[in-house]
Symmetry: C2
């Protein structure tokens, strides 16, 4: 096991009708900015529940945060915060709204002249403006971690940010929100969480036995409840387990003491940038082929994953590992997630070369747990994904 | 799944030579009181490492905290803190030293006249004096939770306490401390953590699928590494997994959203009080017989535990559940933990009646997840344990 540090101070309020708890969780004397996205919270009743819970609070609103939150949009919120003397933020939405709120939290207290530096120069935030969240879309885990991904389309940049001061003070997780989600978002959420776990688990054995079993626990639970929640989003037990899995998949716990990969994400981001394919779907396109390409490095963990998650008991280690990759593809298919780039675009033939170029431009030569994934590897993995 | 709240702000620093990190984790300007027990830290080198790391800090010391920390002893530390203007506490030891430090943390800032009220009246501490810990004995989980058990032998009282202000600010877990532990303490630590998990897991199904799998993960890991660490405490991988299991067994995570039992602990405490048997060993005496007594209520989870932790695939649900209890007993035996009261004392014959009386006196009529364990049940369970 590798040495590690772990701290996660976010308070989780989980379960039916927990949104009402906002009344006590949001500081009474604060001036609150409610942040949300495209307005789905007005259709599913969450907006009304939030307003009701906060009827004794001073509350302003800022809607319109995009699915890939835009720097330009978020800076408007920062301006409003400064004008109005806001001192507490409440993100109500999915990962994009919460990610966007993290940037706003950081920028609102940033002492420098140019908030873009937070992203461009990777400035970590030790103490942001305090914020809570009401999660409406289980997927990214942003509700219990301190990281965010922010877009600036005008200059075609997508940047990550974070810091110990960017954990939500609290996050409210009411699984009842799942019942009003479109099937596509549920499919994406399951795939996103599943792949988050694989990025932290499918590397090489390091003797972190408990972390391995925790990772497998999340995968096993997603395998069990994924099809159920997809079939019937009003199945509360399935929705609750799906929601808690998404949070536990990326709140830091399972990555502690182990090597992590994340190369699937880095390659997959390019497919979203190029073709606008949903993030989760790009992960499902790339992950299996990354495992095929790095098979020799990952085969021990792939076989363990096959045995423990997919009950593959027959065959050599290599056969188990190969079968585990196929089971992963099959699982994505049961979620109606297509796993080939050509399922999403006809113009795929130059993609591998473009991704090669992007990796070259950024100097990405050593991604992945073995630091072997550079431009050539990325090109080959994308080719395998056609 | 039941509704729940979860928050655990303790920062964990885990791994080889992490004790050196004290230099940055303990606030530089604070006046620190180093708290410890009987002096084993002076033999195993931990004391020297702590002193070296804190050579730039203002540091006072208070040793002699007992295995079952005594109110009277702890109050002497509180007095010293007030005399000397201490503002940060550092517990270096096992669960008893950390538990004792939690009481001291609470009492040092308690505004009332009589600190005994914290225990006697169950006053929860919202904000104690800040403290960190260096764990030297994996077992209780006190390093990452906010609870404590304090003794006051002069009036034969043993009380629990806690509150959100009693999480350690940080805890340092260096698995290398395991190599100098006596076999008995390792055996006790494994048994303690294993039983902590069972108390939170062996109840009835509630659809908390991920929590079940996390609990099983800890059990499986303890089953795997327990015999290894017992045989060779210098096996770093085994020691590290043992240590992390103990922390995860009682840091709140696996109990969220599920019913919990804890009746084994309540009955077992009486055996320690009567005969001075090690806490962990009393758990091993009581737990299997409590499962036998409450078999009808627990059989679904017992069978699941048998299947997933002990690979019992044959037989009816009842047969699997029975076999799981026997496997638990066998596991304790492999740890050289005896599981019958008569293995520890010849004067056991009145024990069931005494425990009945104690339960009566305290009005304990409805312990356990079904609130069925009262004086009669406790008597019968103890009889089964002779």
């Amino acid at each position: 096991m590798l040495n590690f540090e772990f701290k996660n101070p976010t308070k989780i309020l989980f379960g039916k009708d927990q949104i009402a708890a906002l009344a006590k969780e949001v500081p009474a004397q604060s001036k609150v900015l409610l942040l949300y996205g495209g307005g789905s919270i007005k259709k599913n009743g969450v907006y009304d529940q939030v307003k009701k819970a906060l009827q004794q609070h001073q509350l302003l609103e800022f809607g319109g945060i995009e699915p890939n939150p835009e720097y330009k949009t978020l800076m408007k919120a920062v301006q409003l915060i400064k004008q109005e003397g806001i001192d507490f933020l409440l993100a109500v939405g999915g990962g994009s709204v919460i990610d966007g709120t993290k940037f706003i939290s950081a920028a609102a207290v940033y002492p420098g002249d140019n908030s873009w530096d937070i992203l461009a120069r990777g400035i970590r935030t030790e103490k942001g403006m305090p914020f809570g969240s009401v999660l409406t879309l289980p997927a990214t885990g942003s509700e219990m971690n301190s990281g965010a991904v922010i877009n600036r389309s005008e200059i075609q940049e997508k940047r990550t940010m974070g810091g110990p001061g960017l954990f939500p003070v609290f996050s409210i997780l009411d699984p009842q929100v799942v019942q009003s989600l479109p099937a596509r978002q549920i499919q994406n959420g399951i795939t996103d969480a599943f792949t988050h776990v694989l990025e932290q688990y499918l590397t090489y054995p390091i003797g972190a036995l408990l972390q391995d079993r925790f990772a497998e626990s999340i995968l096993q639970t997603l395998v069990e409840v994924g099809p159920k929640v997809q079939k019937d989003p009003s199945d509360y037990t399935a929705a609750a387990n799906f929601m808690w899995c998404c949070t536990m998949a990326l709140n830091g716990l399972i990555q502690k003491g182990v090597p992590t990969d994340w190369a699937t994400h880095m390659i997959a981001h390019e497919l979203t940038a190029l073709y606008g394919i949903d993030h989760a779907r790009t992960l499902a396109i790339i992950a299996p082929n990354l495992y095929r390409y790095t098979f020799e490095d990952k085969k021990e963990k792939l076989a363990q994953y096959g045995e423990r998650v997919w009950n593959i008991t027959q065959g050599t280690l290599e056969e188990k590992a190969e079968a585990a990759i196929q089971k992963t593809v099959d699982f994505f298919h049961t979620l109606e997630i297509k796993t080939r780039l050509s399922d999403y675009t006809d113009a795929y033939e130059q993609t591998a070369d473009i991704v090669y170029q992007r990796f070259e431009e950024r100097g990405w030569k050593g991604l992945g747990e073995r630091k072997k994934i550079g431009p050539d590897a990325a090109r080959r993995i994308v080719e395998l994904s056609y």
